[in-house]
Subunit: 576 residues, 2 copies
Amino acid sequence: MKRAFLYPELADYTKKKKKAEVVFKNARVLNVFTEEILPGDVACQNGVIVGIGAYDGVEEVDCGGKILVPGFLDGHLHMESTLVTPSELVKNAVGFGTTTYIIDPHEAANVAGADGIDYLIRDTEHVPANVFVMMPSCVPATFFEDNGGSFSAQDMAAYRDHPRVLGLGEVMDFPSVEAVEPSMMEKLALFQDRVMDGHAPNLTEQQLQLYALAGIRTDHEATTFAYARQEARNGMQVLIREGSAARNLDEIVQGIVEHGMNTDSFSFCTDDKHIEDIRREGHISHHIRRAIALGIPPVKAIQMATINTARTYGLRHLGAIRAGAQADLVLLDDLETVSIADVYYRGKNVREMEPRPVVPNENLTQTVHIKPVRLEQLALPVDGEGDVIGVIPGQLITQHQRAVLPQAGGFFTPNGEYNKIAVVERHHATGKMAVGAIAGFGITGGAIASSVSHDSHNIIVVGDNDPDMLLAIQELERTGGGYTITAGAKVCHTLPLPILGLISDWPHEKVDKRVKEMTALAYQMGVNPGISPFITLSFMALPVIPELRLTARGMFDVVKFAFCDERGSWDGGTAG
Amino acid sequence: MKRAFLYPELADYTKKKKKAEVVFKNARVLNVFTEEILPGDVACQNGVIVGIGAYDGVEEVDCGGKILVPGFLDGHLHMESTLVTPSELVKNAVGFGTTTYIIDPHEAANVAGADGIDYLIRDTEHVPANVFVMMPSCVPATFFEDNGGSFSAQDMAAYRDHPRVLGLGEVMDFPSVEAVEPSMMEKLALFQDRVMDGHAPNLTEQQLQLYALAGIRTDHEATTFAYARQEARNGMQVLIREGSAARNLDEIVQGIVEHGMNTDSFSFCTDDKHIEDIRREGHISHHIRRAIALGIPPVKAIQMATINTARTYGLRHLGAIRAGAQADLVLLDDLETVSIADVYYRGKNVREMEPRPVVPNENLTQTVHIKPVRLEQLALPVDGEGDVIGVIPGQLITQHQRAVLPQAGGFFTPNGEYNKIAVVERHHATGKMAVGAIAGFGITGGAIASSVSHDSHNIIVVGDNDPDMLLAIQELERTGGGYTITAGAKVCHTLPLPILGLISDWPHEKVDKRVKEMTALAYQMGVNPGISPFITLSFMALPVIPELRLTARGMFDVVKFAFCDERGSWDGGTAG
């Protein structure tokens, strides 16, 4: 990444010939290189740390002996998954100390291609945080996806030299890497000398080596310490994920502590985290706190949240408090509890900074186009044992179950144990849709639906009766996307997500409130308390995470990387 | 650094669909990321590690349970200082496990500008090691130097995208950095997003911060642990130097051990190491062995010699044994003693590889041009107390002593305690020369001279009588540069260094033998056993290392960064 050469104009502030614009007085400063906490004043000019020692400033912030640590980095996240606009997300999350976000806008790209990416870049141009972008590598996620936009190596080339583009986003399509598939090779070749993120659950040792050979440098899909260690052995940085649905931190960190493992190969990321979870438990600050609770020394935990990630992504000006680094700082009352007193971005208190969001164009706000669905299209014929998606609490992976489903007249009759699930294509009104069975979700007396449904973001709905499922689909068509819950032939609650069908234009407080109400209602309706209703639902159509998923074309066996069969798969043009 | 995208042709070897060209069977493999030693076969194809596990190869090397570690990296060295051609040096040193050399060809550039750099690049094109080049940043070293060539930011720009150029070489001229001197700023701006090496002895805390603010990322001049730690605090990588003259390892490593310091910020370099010292005690292997002896765990010591350095210089394909890394390997009988069984570069045994040296052009072999020196020009008038260069055994820094020198008739009469030292311009026959006094060198009954004299590489001579000093100057003019010792009006021994006046065209064995004979003779003649006669001499004219030096223009006070006075300074055009 090219940066301006600011030294000539900053040197006089280091030399104390000029007074720096802001000085953090009487701090105890965490040095992530030497792992020391040293007393000093931190002088900042033009958003850059120009000196640490005894300094006077034009403005002075008395730290009163509190601890100054570098701003935290989230190594991998999808901002679209937080339901609020990128600028609204940053405005909220930065207060929890995360001053750098390395985003993969692949949800936006899946809905609207390059236009979606441009929206995220533009909306994060003027926010009180660093937002870097990885180029979505798998849009569409697979060749058989029915998503809204595509993003090829040719499309990426135009972004390669963008100052906020760091490399290639999570390469989820491992089969294409393994098969040396030409369009994937083009993308890898384009970013060979840059950071390329992986997305590699459950690979064999040999497959992980193939991934490393291809130049993949990170992964955030490890769910066990043994797997994380195997990735580290291959020189990959393990981005320990703790989001709303996927919570992998405890298992990995317990292993690190137990094995006395060097923490250099580990960083933190959220991947997908809902705004209400951020507000409840924090952001990367939560990772740090949890890691400390599990036995990681506080300084090491903060390294994992700062310098380890900055180093991985070649962000030399971030992740440390030293002369020449950007003045992104978190003031902690206490190192053990990570109690945050204040957060500073480029030397300014983030509470005093307002993002300047952009207004999305119409092509980004009118993205739900559905061919009308008839009730009978939701019927699922069954005959003997059938495929069932088995939800696993706290995990993104599902189980591929086989079960004899409850039925009447040759058709599946869902109940609280076995819910019905359906996916409806919503970008080009093709009429493609599919229906299946799911265990472990648990909704009764209604349906729950979403237009956030990785990665194609078609309409996904789960319920125990067809009329409520149909109503939920119709409600999301009406609102241009969103979350909805229906019961007894009525819409109970909807959160409209008009931007790309993924993002609300409401402030986060209002989104939070609505999501909380809807989540509470979902649990009241029987949803498994071990899952997060909307987040878990949103991953049930993603055909790149094992073991079984439902796409608009039918049940997909991710392990075999093939559709299960034609049963349960309708095409609007031919069915009914 | 851009590298070819080799994955498509290598993947089949990882998958075992094709047999790799060489497999290291039954190894115990050191993983520098996880700090484990794991059993496995290491499969290599086209010089790249394609897999670790159970592999069969076209050729198989039975490691018999020995330990395979990554090839070592020398983070900073001047190949010209080894007296042999670059290709000859590599051929010799690589057997000690150093498979990567990050060189700063600033000696060659000081004699012949870009032509000198090109010679080093060309001569290391076909050697069994990786040779990367840092652009010499201070040629000439100061504005008042009388050297042979210059190398500006404009000259560097042409090299910026060379695949073996990594960044800006040691920025020795700290005063220009501090003073925001425009031509220095041009160089820093040019390499702002690349690695920039420092060279910073004895800076204050504030000056070190200024250095870090300017973007300097490394330093190899730390002589104490406290100073090294201060550099680490600024995010700089400390390249712990252990060469022929400067031996800083023990002090720094003892501090690391004593303070239980994280070793991530430390790497190894030789800077300047003579071939006979390499053959006697090893190269980077010696650093590792010594660090272990001082209490660094062996795995950490090897990290300091491998991955720490590779990471610092952005050499992602080096410094580790993992799929996708280059197959530069060292086979160790034992990890504690670092006893080297074999060394492999790109999967091939270096004993079976021959470098292909280039023949230097005439402009590189006829570089000594001296205006004839008369005996009376060596006379040094003295009056009361005078400046004396105080040699410190094992250090590059000198003491600025003041002493009443022995004299006769108003002229200095050197003896074993106070030797005479002279520097004669040798590039453009300008006739510039200067004479001074030096303590702690100790030669009696003759003189010792060299055309290797950092950084201007003028003729430098030390002795206890003028006739032998003059004869030594004349001898080096005759041989086109070299080392010589004279005694009793006779030349005792000469090592001709016809290439740039710095490098021999002999094989290293012959150079070794001659240097050994000459060094032994120097000690017989009284030279201080705590110094290395020729290496120590070669630094006495370098006006950027404190405290006192002699240049062709006179005694220079490095602390004040000013000439002491006019006394002892002759200009050929006006003196005599």
